[in-house]
């Protein structure tokens, strides 16, 4: 009899503890669906109309497992900071200034901050979202080096990418995401695939396909990795 009562108590404790475990970060997917899906698309596909592009409030996450580095996600979710200076679609966050268009900071909202357990659980759940795997060639990036000055020359003078991306805080364009942290944030094979054809991932995105040569794709990722070692953050 005693054994039966102890077993019942054990079951009761388990049933009470399970929701707590979920609350403490045990079920990242449940958190994602309940807390993140208002602003992030967890199922796809990416917008196929301009209206859809304008209405997107946060990055699509249905291919997060092919895009992000898990360690970075865990850390960023606990201390989020803006990566796109003018938000997801810059057109929603600009206004006319005295000398031209400026970012309208009042329209940009901070990202919610998660505790460490939740951040860990959500990052793990995100890594399971692997749409568009056919666009990734695992191991395509071959680590190498390029000097920062040569990288900048390619990124700015030869290809004009600086027009839309910052290569250090306060230097570069504002409509695209900063690139000085991109190698910390994103998987190298994803970077190569995305730069090769941004529209394959996001049909209406306002990043042009520059028809980069394969060896230049590799060099750009070398450059981004070099930039990330500068610890500009």
């Amino acid at each position: 009899m005693m054994k039966m009562a102890a077993f019942r108590r054990f079951l009761l404790v388990c049933s009470l503890a399970m929701p707590l475990a979920a609350w403490a970060g045990g079920d990242g997917m449940a958190l994602l669906k309940s807390q993140c899906s208002n602003c992030h698309d967890l199922t796809g596909p990416a917008p196929t109309t301009l209206q859809g592009l304008w209405e997107r409030r946060g990055p699509d996450l249905f291919y997060a497992g092919n895009k992000y580095k898990q360690a970075w996600l865990e850390q960023w979710l606990q201390a989020p900071r803006r990566i796109r200076p003018a938000g997801m679609y810059y057109g929603n966050h600009i206004k006319e200034g005295e000398d031209g268009d400026v970012i309208d900071e009042s329209t940009l909202k901070p990202h919610p901050k998660l505790g460490s357990a939740d951040a860990k659980a959500v990052a793990a759940a995100l890594m399971t979202l692997k749409a568009n795997s056919e666009l990734i060639k695992p191991g395509e990036y071959q680590p190498g080096k390029i000097s920062l000055s040569m990288g900048e020359l390619m990124f700015d003078k030869f290809r004009g990418c600086l027009a839309c991306h910052e290569i250090e805080p306060g230097y570069g364009g504002l409509s695209g995401p900063e690139v000085y942290t991109v190698a910390k944030r994103l998987q190298e094979d994803y970077l190569i695939s995305y730069m090769r054809n941004p529209q394959a991932w996001d049909p209406k995105i306002f990043m042009p396909s520059k028809h980069l040569k394969e060896r230049d794709l590799q060099k750009f990722v070398h450059y981004f990795r070099g930039l990330s070692e500068e610890e500009f953050e």
């Binding site: 031209g100 030869f158 364009g173 409509s175 042009p208 396909s209």
Partner: protein, 125 residues
């Protein structure tokens, strides 16, 4: 013989199909394409003062400048948009948009540029 109700239902279905067909083939409006892809450098007013210009070595074209814009043919504008500035010996900062915009979209953009400058090639409004 179809009943009156069946005729009405067929008419309704035909109407819905027509509306759907028109929407599917409508494409995007040139002003919306301009807002999405061009504002970032050329600005909300098209005057070349977009949010990205701060650190540019070459100022984006002012699309409201009739004198400058009338010096460009529609064909040059089309080529610059589709293949990038370098295709007409201009800046690399103007990227090629041919990977995201169709030829029809680009022709629409050229018409939109002519509205912004209120000009045509060779001068005159």
């Amino acid at each position: 013989m179809m009943s009156k109700g069946a005729v009405m239902m067929n008419g309704l279905l035909l109407g819905l199909l027509l509306v759907w067909g028109l929407q599917a083939s409508a494409g995007e409006r040139p002003a919306d394409i301009y807002k999405t892809y061009c504002w970032q450098c050329h600005g909300m007013k098209g005057n070349g003062n977009g949010i990205n210009v701060r650190d540019m070595t070459v100022q984006p074209r002012n699309h409201t400048d009739a004198k400058e814009m009338s010096a460009r043919s529609d064909e040059d504008l089309f080529t610059a948009i589709k293949k990038g500035g370098q295709a007409i010996n201009k800046s690399v900062l103007m990227p090629p948009w041919g990977g995201v915009l169709s030829d029809e979209d680009i022709h629409g953009l050229v018409r939109h540029l002519r509205k912004l400058c209120q000009c045509r090639h060779g001068g005159g409004a």
